[in-house]
Amino acid sequence: MTTNHILTVENLTTSFQTPDGKVEAVNNVNFALDPGETLGVVGESGSGKTQIFMSIMGLLAKNGASTGSVRYKDTEILNLPPRELNKIRGVSMSMIFQDPMTSLNPYLKISKQMTEVLVEHRGMSEGEALNRAIAMLDRVGIPGAAQRVHMYPHEFSGGMRQRVMIAMALLCDPEVLIADEPTTALDVTVQAQILDLLRDLQKDFNTATVMITHDLGVVAGLCDRVMVMYGGRVVETGSVRDIYYDSHHPYTEGLLKSMPRIDHANEESLFAIPGQPPNLQNLPTGCAYQARCGYVTDRCSAERPVLKSFDQGRASACFREDGK
């Protein structure tokens, strides 16, 4: 492994203490992010895709705890005290969330929310910070930024709020931007605008981006590499082309087949993955996907397939790899 990764995650495991016992939401996840790269993290609700990054950013709920290692460049950041972590998060690593209304403070004007981080982290004066905030709002396509910066979040539409969130995240020129379902709450035409904006910004700022989403269409258009999660574990990784044109894991294959396509008519019934997503409190021994898998063998219920690397930068956690 070279050390020019910007973010290195090793053996990350995150568990929550619940009244019904311990739940492992993220289990032994390893990956690295290079500068300027876009990584898509795909999975259904409860697959652990968001919790990986909540762990990294120190944003876990109180009953959650993580083990393993997360390095930003060469600094270990997992489980750092908030004061230390604040030197990195929001500055070098930023995160945007699905619902922009709940992540903005409704009582504060956008100007206050945006300048705070610059004054705090960059030592700018209020005036300098305001100018930078206006410039950034302008850059993300908010018309009349100089006036609108003095408005409250409720005065913006959903798409505009998400632009404000993106502008806020980019204020300190972060090297890593984590976007958690940034367009899920938006209409398709507005989603297209935001995705275009993210693509443009990536070109301009060369920010390494993590795109957490359940939408395989969004990943296809935006990401270089893809990591597919199921039941708290990574089940497949590879370049975007590998995943879409030559998927190896039965879950990836099933997900891609079950998507109705807008670009061609399908007269047959959709392929549907049978059954339900697994209950993390009650994962079966062996492979978490066994109950829904069309290739299941006795071995799948006896032992758990490990993530096995093959070719260049690809890996899949399925016993079918052994036979290939």
């Binding site: 297209a192 605008q193 275009d196 269409g217 296809a220 099933g254 007269e267 392929f271």
Partner: protein, 338 residues
Amino acid sequence: MTAINPNTPKKDSSPILSVRDLKVHFAIPGKGLFAPDRQLKAVDGVNFDLYPGETLGVVGESGCGKSTLGRAILQLIAPTEGKVAWLGKDIVGAPHREMQPLRRDLQIIFQDPLASLNPRMTIGEIIAEPLVTHKPELGKEEIKARVKRMMARVGLLPQMINRYPHEFSGGQCQRIGIARAMILEPKLIVCDEPVSALDVSIQAQIVNLLQELQREFDLSLIFISHDLSIVRHICHRIMVLYLGNVMELADRDSIYAAPKHPYTKALISAVPIPDPEIERNKERIVLTGDLPSPLSPPSGCVFRTRCPFAKDQCARETPKLEHVSSNQEVACHFHESI
């Protein structure tokens, strides 16, 4: 796999539902204390026919009036103007006593599967409720037998009949909602975003179930959705709504192969395709701006403020929905030139 959509709609028969110039306007209190009420035109003059066994997709962005339209058809919201003819008889403003027997044939499935189920009723009680209301002559045993049969049909284990909604996952709750809608064997179901809240792998299951039920019971569906990929898969005809106005109404193959309205074109091109080559190289029409407030819609064509092809005429005259072919209608002054 069996062939689905074998052109089930019986266009030669008479429509089961005819909607004419349907309008739903809401009065919104004015801005000042004595200011007059303002009109929010949620649905503003919608016309269509629905045939037995047909699925009509209603698509549009949030706030376009698609859910209001669905509810107004079922008389769950009183229309302001217009006609909704069910089997030839206008049901707008029909008194409760006339409406009640019709409701057997008119059902609805909601978006949020858990929120639409009473948490204090067992799923057996939930699914049986329409039977108890509409067929009081049935005995307890008969009702239970029918509920169990319907549960099995929608893919729920009949022995779960005494469980409560919170014990089920989202996909299973949606199956309960479908069982409740299907128990009276209705002729029409309005599906209001039935799969939007579900995970990708579960969406396909529910879509397939709806299609199977449609064939089995010769159901007509009004499928309200913002997801144009699913609509392409399940619908025979598609209506595109924008600020309460129909922009385009056409059969599925025409609208996806050759959309005529600039809004339809933009909507279709905005849907991300799960194929990196196609998605990265496709032609995109990215609309600028957001949906205008429905309280002060633009003059003339309501879409003109976001339309890349808007001209002066668009601000002056409201385009009418015109036939461009026997099965495609468009409301745009310039549909021929763009």
